[in-house]
Subunit: 325 residues, 4 copies
């Protein structure tokens, strides 16, 4: 735990990660959920893990899964409906041009909500990554947007004890995803009860956003519900270790999270293709602690005073002071 | 005129353009408004021009300006408040941390609205380009957003015969501008009467948007009020000639403009630093006509049928057929 | 065939493409080489195909492979050593920090050269995609560069009837690949006999290059040996259909290829994740033919006269004239 | 001074910076050279300043300029030929299609070399920023490259006591500059005596390079002659304060500079549009000292041992340890 925030991780953090060239994976992680959990428990700060529908949980094994985690003192912090790992979602899920696929996508989310409830988790992560387009003149934006809204509305109404969170991303696997920014996510879910947003640092940076600004905007619309942490070089979702590239903006995010009193999960979404898995998680948590402590040590008031001046020199000096004294 | 749309241009199209290295300008255009107009009239398709407050119009010369344009059969399609050419706006205008500057910014917009009314123009272009930040920990996003909304609300209420349009841009002159996407612009103006949006193709592309999708989104929120046309290489607002780089997406935009029944201005926002000015305008209009005719020739129904399929092969084939037959 | 150039394709053009999310592939293509060939033969313009070492050819099946292609009147235009599909290459091949892996990489290239000779192909494509780094302070650039040169030198000396071509790419699968631009490739192979370069349009664009300029630079250093064609949105190797996004620069490339008298292969490197495979190849070849014919129709002299003026207006007008008349 | 390296600054660091929107400048700096120097002397670590030909030095004032600096105990670390501030260079200088302009550009560089010698400076910074193109089919790459080489060769032969350094940049003021990467710069100057390179951190980052890798590559070709320091968000030459955005890569650069025994100037190239000038220089030098000391404290051997492993976890842990202990 980091102050009020619990620390989580997506399962790929502890698995053998693959990409489009090395489809069998770069090795070094667990294959079964049990193997991944056995790695995960060795990261002492970890409070919970995300699981993916169908892959890690289904109707037949709900109780087993719950026990698997409970035995290891780990929570399940998220159930993610599988809307992106099968060929049938390739041209879209909730916004597919095929009404049958749209129905299946809604059903998949609802199932995942039930599984979430079954394993004691209060939220699902709807990531419409396959909903988008690749080529010019390939998308009817108006229809797609309506289908997304209708689908989310139906899902969110399915049961009130599990909240539907929408995760946005600029691109990948499509060259253009429809739900691609914090602001567009807010427009999408406006007026839909039981529906919120998930902010992924790397998705935000690769979308050209300042991530702290995205957090503030989501908070202003009561939609800062959950965070994925990682880092990248701004042009792609590299899923690298937290603060390994962009330290000042990650520091800025931690200031804003405290200022906004965000008390939700801080969950790693890392793809450690070539790295040993345990040090990856530990490296991330160590940076997160260092940045969090730098904010605490300096104090919200002092930081806030600088932030409110809008003076570049003072901001740069403050960041340096907070990091290297 | 291009179908129902009138054709306009920003004045820099006909002036000597400068950049931060060659501050005296690369030459070849007019210096006074009159000189620029004398160039502009030679572009036969041109229906109107944009002017900037203080620089091209003020209380003392409203009648002269109106006459200058009327004598040449040119409309004034936009008055742009000067919120970005003076050092005093350097750290922000409507969202400056200095309340005095915020007051001046609101006053400047109101003045421009009066000037617009005086010259027979129904809209002003509020481009908050200086409102943003450069460094991490340099901005209080929440305050800035509130000040932007409050300022716009007051401006929009000033007079109902001139509409306040907000132009978004990801960056430049700041490394981060607050109003940086179509979706965020919609959030900004939500609930403010007499307030709309201006879509600049290049700003949209450099913000990572598909510009036709941005147009559709703005239209869905009754905010597709005005267009700036140009082109770039996606990472910067290069202000190049229309369709000189990105033909398929510009073609897609023209399809959507017709489908959405956009009947507003199509105004060039080009910075022809090193080019003769007249051929620049003519090149742009020639491409715009070619793309517009390609849409007409093919027909909205046929295009719409392909678009609705979401099949990459059909979309690519259609674009090729529309362009090279 | 397109003038003097033969038309090829990489095998993924006809296979079910996978990415890191949908590891089992999006479907629709062949699984075995035979199935892929049976698709390929239906694209009438196709002259040949690339194959990958180990996956499609090995010591035991050389004759079978040769026959498989000969029976279908298809050439094998490239054998690509497998330096990137197995976990063992994850931290590098020719430039691995592990000398044993470096030896294996050299052996793999040599084996592929033998296979190439065996199937009547005069070149191998060394793509050191795993040779690079992800994080700051993770690479000894000097060592890596020396290892790359030493390895290539040894491979190129292995046999003179098969030329070693180096394919550059800015990133992916590493966040930084060492061999990342045309100029750096030239530096890498300088002074190594029997070693050339492979230019991939998409790699060049995503590296911030103008692809025609890259072709001219390689040609000036006698290293324009082979081409991969595709397209993307400039920030990633999207492997999309040729000219589907960037038409003017692809047209410019075709002008330069003719001017430079490039008479090598024009090979598709497309990943049609969600598209039917045959129309993808046909769409690409149709655009290539259209652009090639536009150059022929206009004439090298006329184009060259405009190019040599350096006048933006004339260039934009020429492109428009060549495309839409 | 920072170890063996002297600390410099370009004059804009102490002047009122302008951009294309606010052409009269954002204010706060000096206007005359004397005013800028009077600011500069207040930055105690500063050893020298760069000046630009024509603007700050010419035949008539060489002695005055030398005295102006000597009186303040400041060196002139660079004379930059003015190849980019006048309209006549707009379509190119050394690589202009107009042979008369090419002659003038060569003459301008030679004059600057004489001025450099006159003020006791051993190098000039040839930045061919206007040499490039904006539109497809606007450039004859082969001719341009030859003109660049011929021009540089003639300049470098002018006098051996002043070295000609070439500064590369991907873009701006042109959308494409010919000399755009470290590798291409090496190719350009290969075989030309008395000709080297200038590495600008921000130009390198915006060109997609890892800046330490660029430094190592230049060093391997005896061309790491001079450094410009600043920072940016990777897609544009924002000319921000050193390490204000990208700390790990700037740290990595300082490790490599020490490892490569670079003992040249470390010169700020910052455009503090909206910031007070003195704190800008001090902020930069403070970060440079902090990073330099972190390298010294940790030791080249220890860092080198991690770098040579190529293990992401160890690299990330090392950076964190070096920064926040």
């Amino acid at each position: 735990m980091l102050g009020k925030n619990k620390l989580g991780a997506c399962l790929p953090t502890f698995s053998s990660c693959a990409d489009r060239y090395c489809l069998s994976g770069y090795g070094g992680g667990g294959t079964t959920v049990e193997e991944m959990l056995d790695l995960a428990v060795q990261v002492e700060e970890l409070d919970g893990l995300e699981i993916v529908g169908n892959w890690h949980v289904n109707d037949d094994i709900i109780d087993d899964v719950r026990k698997l985690f409970a035995d290891r003192n780990l929570e399940i912090c998220m159930v993610t409906p599988d809307l992106w790992t099968q060929a049938k979602w390739g041209r879209g899920s909730l916004a597919s041009t095929d009404p049958k696929i749209r129905r299946e996508a809604v059903a998949e989310v609802k199932k995942s909500m039930d599984w979430a409830a079954g394993v004691g988790c209060g939220q699902v992560d709807v990531w419409p990554g396959q909903d988008g387009f690749d080529y010019p003149l390939q998308a009817n934006f108006t229809d797609a947007w309506k289908w997304l809204r209708d689908g989310l509305e139906e899902c969110a109404a399915h049961r009130s004890d599990v909240k539907v969170l929408v995760e946005y991303k600029l691109k990948e696997p499509r060259t253009h995803c429809y739900v691609n920014s914090a602001a567009k996510t807010i427009l999408l879910i406006q007026g839909i009860a039981n529906c919120g947003a998930l902010l992924d640092i790397g998705h935000s940076m690769a979308a050209g956003e300042n991530v702290a600004e995205a957090a503030a905007l989501l908070h202003d619309h009561n939609a800062l519900d959950y965070l994925h942490l990682n880092d990248n070089y701004r042009s792609w979702d590299d899923d690298m270790m937290v603060a390994s590239v962009n330290i000042p903006e990650t520091l800025e995010l931690f200031y804003w999270l405290k200022k906004l009193k965000y008390d939700g999960w801080l969950t790693l979404d890392i793809f450690p293709y070539r790295e040993d898995k345990l040090p990856v998680a530990r490296n991330c948590f160590a940076w997160m602690k260092a940045l969090s402590q730098a904010v605490e040590r300096t104090g919200l008031d002092k930081i806030g005073a600088v932030v409110s001046k809008g003076d570049g020199n003072e901001s740069v000096a403050l960041v340096r002071e907070m990091l290297v004294g």
